[in-house]
Symmetry: C2
Subunit: 176 residues, 2 copies
DNA sequence: TGATATAGACCGACCGGTCTACTCACTCTC
DNA sequence: GAGAGTGAGTAGACCGGTCGGTCTATATCA
């Protein structure tokens, strides 16, 4: 619901009705709406980290293929949600101008994802799949950022093509 | 105000107070809040098209340099706003899941921008700066999408570096 | 029995939007 | 050319509905 409607358009009452949970229970477990939103991000990030754990240590693929595989699996996840893009991108875009708590949290999430991808890219440098001296951290940030842009366009079109085109371009350019 | 706060967090009353306009005047000129938001996008797009007009026909630069120049000028505009990213990206992300009017409008805006950039890339193909047979429309969409992703990160960090890194990577990859 | 959690009625604030009264430049008419 | 009439635009009080959040009463455990 947060992904589809965004933060401000989603009322607590709608969440309660959809889940059948009474208001008292909600406010027993969450301090307020902001706390709820931040915990949803935490939950989302455990899924992301599980995906990274699954992909980035897969010795049967090259490091670059592992990274690409992660985003291809993410695209499949988007498909199951009707191509509504990325929750981090959505909440980050909507709230980063108005809530320091969300701004710093989402930025931290992107940093964490990029950090783990950069580690994998470092392996690729070690194997010679990436040029020696490559700034792997910058390359990882670039990938995450461009992915988020493609995810926004995917949300606008309800179509995964922007995601695939972005990955094709990135990995062609990275190899060169 | 729409760029900073987003659509749902921005109340009509705040706009009226900031501009000193009474409510009666507002609702005389705008049918409702949605109409207001859509007209703000129209105004934003006239600025974007003015920027494209200015850059993309500059015969003193190569076609690729013209495209790059447009985005560099856009970055400067972002700086003047405190690096809050792109209004189209912001409203598109927040509203495309909940309002078909905004979804289709923002998607149409991106298509228009990409169409004009693709025309310029076509010139680059003619000059041999881009490989013959390049899908210029796909390349233009890719550029717009990745730019939006970089703009989101810029908004999160209040820092233009993601924009520049994205442009560097794109034009290095496009030339290859 | 005390801590934890459930349950939902209730609250004040604020939201987008409507309504009526009014101003004022301009036009039509006798 | 004076005066009534007209319609665009101004002004803000007001409205029903919804929002996030609180409160008290109750159920369910260890």
């Amino acid at each position: 619901m947060l992904l589809r409607q965004g933060y401000h358009d989603l009322g607590i009452a709608a969440v309660l009705e959809a889940t059948g949970i009474p208001k008292g229970s909600f406010y027993h477990h969450f301090a307020n709406k902001e706390d709820f939103g931040l915990q949803v991000i935490d939950l989302y990030m455990t899924q992301v980290h599980a995906g990274l754990d699954h992909c980035l240590v897969d010795e049967s693929r090259t490091p670059l293929d592992r990274v690409r595989r992660f985003f291809e699996l993410t695209e499949e996840k988007y498909r199951g949600e009707g191509y509504l893009g990325c929750l981090l991108g959505g909440l980050g875009q909507e709230l980063s101008g108005v809530s320091e708590a969300f701004r710093s949290k989402v930025e931290w999430c992107f940093c964490e994802i990029a950090r783990r991808i950069a580690n994998c890219l470092e392996e690729a440098v070690g194997l010679g799949d990436l040029a020696a001296g490559t700034d792997t951290r910058a390359m990882a940030d670039l990938l995450v950022n461009c992915w988020e842009g493609a995810a926004l366009r995917t949300r606008l079109r309800r179509d995964p093509a922007p995601l695939r085109q972005m990955l094709d371009f990135y990995f062609r350019g990275a190899a060169a």
